[in-house]
Symmetry: C3
Subunit: 445 residues, 3 copies
């Protein structure tokens, strides 16, 4: 299904955007959106800093040119140019000479992962700091000298927060939302994987022509961006029937999905079917109100059911929020597994329909329409007894179920759930039956 | 309960009707209905050939006098007189001389069951053929000569399809349906067992006097007969609350039941209770839209919930649709097990009622009515503690549950399900309580 | 929570009331109510004998001064003064000389518990009898002489049945019922444990000031007392939303609870939460319409859901309804376990409320309110991954769930059930959030 999306294309996008210093605001985010605009015609909105959005205020725009900790010989012991995780996000500017003892409360290190640089931010409390690996920490600790400590950053209260948006209008006014967050700097699974996946899904839907649902794609900084987006679009969000927060979908681990707060909304059911029909034993993550931007989209005033397909969900892998969440951990092949699932889910939702039978009384005479696969009497001899044991099915079963349930009430998702027949087998047979005019799409669909 | 029905009576009926050459139409069906009319006063309807019934047309009447494959010495290598399964049902006439190579595409044989003659039909496509066992097939194959191949059959477009019907009017206008199919030639489980069982159930209900429900008994060729019956009775079928397709209920295997499309309709629940209360661990067959005439009765335009009690369900036994489904495989004792279950189900439905208590506030004083089984304080000493462990119950438990739930809402089936008390224990105690005027049947029942 | 109730206070109350000869009527009941009035200001109602109450009539008042079986030397072989269980409850007066053979049909003994005197009554059929242990029975049996058999009892048709009642008015008109029975003579678990527990719960609620619910405490003889109480209060019982029959809560065995007839009423859910949150693996007793006064309160005309917390439920322990149900079997420490659970249940019900968020759109900014426990990025590092495996939770989880579900619909009981967070952790955090004005109680609560 994802014939137009290759692992190598994904790998190239990852390599290109990985170095950008994304944050809540700033140029790293704009660079990221600019690359995405090569894939899809995103609208980029700039929400002004200082604006109140519900319980929050959009923070000042943050710029950082450089940062380091130098020894007296001018060696950069810690260097922002080497890895933008070295600086605590939203660090205020500093230029000082400090001993290790003076500096140590500003240093973040992970004892349990000595090679990793941790990822830290201080968005809403002015502060500064450096994140280092264990070797760097020990080197600083051993040294008796005064370090040169510089963070060349600035805040701009007249700046703005950048948001990417693409609305693909469909035949229905009902919308589905696909949202991802663009605020994490150089980490691959969290969340470059989500950014790339979301853009490629948007490109695929666009390429297929007018969809059934209207699809709303949103690229925002996590939390403040989603809140600001909701605040700017409050009046139209009631059209959104469900959605996806795309994040952490390219790691080395097992596929899984986080349920919506509803648990069995249409999007939940489509996700579960996609996994079931691919025979993937996915990890199920029950809804938690901690997590990503479902916290905003599903909040009381909006209550949009939102799910997430994960391959190494946030919180659940040891490289999470460190420099080890890099391009060794994530690659195009892995992301493609999630992309394929999302594309199945999208098609399941797009093609979902209930049908009405043109022969509601008694059964359809399949034989004279060439739909009956066997001569009379011979079906279900001992061999088919065995096939039943293995819970397989044949086309006649698919036809029979579809005709039996085409009363205008049961959509394909419901039929797939009830019968165990794969959604796409149902869809294929439904098209065959439509071509014979024995069923047609129900009016209210 | 089936004191009037003996295994030997069933065996005699089986032996008598087994040889008849039943099909969609023709004399074998009329012979069968004539035997049944000795048991119950069936109305026999003749639906004219060529008539359109929903998506179908009633086929021409089929007659067959004889058929054979003879060698040059006049020996019948395959002989319709020996077994009517040898001829494909609805074979057109043929009279020819053919070598094996010319004949072979017309031969049906089962490699996996060498002794069996398979059962085959070609109802709606004009064709002809012979069904043979493996020995016969090999003998034909070895011979180099030209065979005389004759099927002395004929189609009559001015004929009709025969239907048997018996409506036993009850106190209620709500009806229950019992349908069986009469189109299978010499096979015992499929479906002589169903034909005999249905007729004996009808005779029993008739003998018991006016029932509560109106009972509609129907004997039809499978599929086309049920469709034609529905088409001729469309306006009154809304009265039918549920029903049974009686088939395959006399084999050597385990008892089981196929659920209705609803799964927990009143007839499903009655069937489950009957099994439960007889402590029979029945095989559960979830509804499938393939199967027998529930395909028609439960179709979108009718949606009548229909269940089937089976003893060797169609598809599930190796003798199915072959000459091995014979009177060695089926006998009266085995059919009697199904008859007893059906009779329990019928009584469960017939006697089902909700009750209203004449003492809704506080409990009934059982003692002064002679309903309290013990002197005060002595109930439930250690001995009764043990009895509780074994999930048994005593009459006081039955009385207490009945009185507690006699609020006009809970019928006996519901009470039996909730409490684990057998339906017939509840019924017996309900009658005792009615005789003491502490409960009475609820009005809407 | 039960800091004001000590095991020693309970032990003293048990010792004081254990000897009273309680029955349906009479001075033993009045003595009991008088002791209880030292704890709480009970109203005592006297319902006249002979009065019809629904299907029942209040029996004559029963008095007994003394009773014995003496041998010819004047030795009391059986002596009411030694144990009031020796006389069948409501025995009519007798003064006779009898041999063992004449007496034997009047003797009750338990072969399976030789040391025990059984408890027997004959309330509604005039009779008399003695209950003896196995040794006494054998001594009587061995003796050839005529015994002096005396029961110095009397019935008073002008007497009355005594009922204790305390209504503690709350902020709501909705009531909760706590009922116990006072008709069992010298047995400790059944039901001195229930009497003492009920009185202490009433005292605790009174001491805490105006409750939310109105609490109706009732002390009645079992069955006839509850029926008479309902009959005298029929018009106001619709206010009662649920309740408890307090009985058998002080034995040596495991804690358990009997479900209401509804099974998941608010009181059932509160009881289950109290057990769950104390990590007590309680025995679950599904509703049975046999039992105690839930038979009356839950009868068709009232349908009040009633639960019972048990520590050795009636029927389920071998000392039940014998003289072995004594102060060796029951003590204050054991009763205190049940009291603590009931107090938790009471608080769960009293504090239960749904909340509305003052930030329904998007999430609350916890950080600027000092509610966010961590700096950005650092939450849920590998260590917290482990914590999640153990299904523990942190304050941020509690805060997040509460805010997410504070839509005015979900009360604390529902939130506790859905999330697995303890009720009292939710309550503590809800108070913190209320103090920050981010949630407030929903109006309809």
């Amino acid at each position: 299904m994802s014939e137009e999306i290759s692992a190598s294309e994904i790998d190239a996008l990852l390599a290109r955007m990985y170095p950008f210093n994304r944050s809540l605001t700033g140029d790293g985010n704009r660079q990221t959106l600019n690359v995405l605009r090569e894939l899809v015609p995103l609208d980029v909105h700039e929400y002004p800093c200082g604006k109140e959005v519900y319980d929050w205020v959009i923070p000042d725009e943050w710029h950082i040119r450089d940062a380091w900790i130098k020894d007296s010989t001018g060696n950069r012991l810690v260097d922002f140019q080497a890895n933008n995780l070295h600086v605590v996000g939203y660090s205020e500017p500093v230029k000082a000479r400090m001993t290790f003892n003076e500096l140590s409360s500003r240093l973040h290190v992970l004892e349990e992962l000595p090679e990793a640089i941790p990822y830290r931010t201080s968005y809403y409390t002015r502060s500064w700091g450096f994140c280092v690996n264990s070797q760097q920490y020990k080197a600083l600790q051993r040294s008796k000298e005064q370090f040169e400590v510089v963070i060349d950053s600035a805040f701009d209260a007249t700046g703005s927060m950048s948001i990417g948006e693409l609305l693909i209008p469909g035949a229905k006014t009902e919308e589905l939302l696909v949202s991802t967050y663009i605020c994490h700097p150089s980490m691959a699974n969290d969340n470059l994987s989500g950014i790339v996946t979301t853009a490629l899904l948007a490109r695929t839907i666009l390429a297929r022509g007018r969809p059934q649902y209207s699809w709303r794609f949103v690229f925002v900084p996590e939390t403040i961006g989603a809140i600001a987006y909701l605040c700017h679009n409050e009046k139209i969000m009631h059209k959104v029937q469900g959605g996806f927060v795309v994040t952490c979908c390219g790691g080395k681990g097992k596929l899984g999905y986080k349920e919506s707060f509803v648990g069995d909304s249409l999007v939940d059911r489509a996700v579960r079917l996609a996994f079931r029909d691919k025979s993937i034993d996915a990890i199920r993550y029950p809804f938690q109100p901690t997590g990503s931007d479902e916290r905003q989209y599903s909040s009381i005033g909006f209550r949009i059911p939102v799910t997430t397909i994960c391959k190494d969900k946030y919180y659940e892998y040891s490289e999470y929020h460190t420099s080890l969440d890099n391009l060794d951990f994530v690659n195009g092949e892995q992301i493609l597994e999630s992309v394929d699932l999302y594309l199945d889910v999208i098609q399941i939702l797009e093609e979902n329909s209930a049908f009405t039978s043109s022969v509601p009384k008694g059964e359809v005479q399949l034989g004279r329409r060439g739909l009956y696969p066997h001569s009379g009497g011979s079906i279900n001899q001992p061999a088919s007894k065995n096939h039943r044991r293995h819970q397989e099915y044949q086309e006649l079963d698919v036809i029979s179920w579809l005709l039996f349930l085409s009363d205008g009430q049961n959509d394909l998702i419901t039929i797939a759930e009830r019968t165990g027949i794969t959604y796409f087998d149902l869809l294929r047979v439904a098209r065959k039956l439509m071509s014979q005019a024995v069923i047609q799409p129900a009016k209210d669909n």
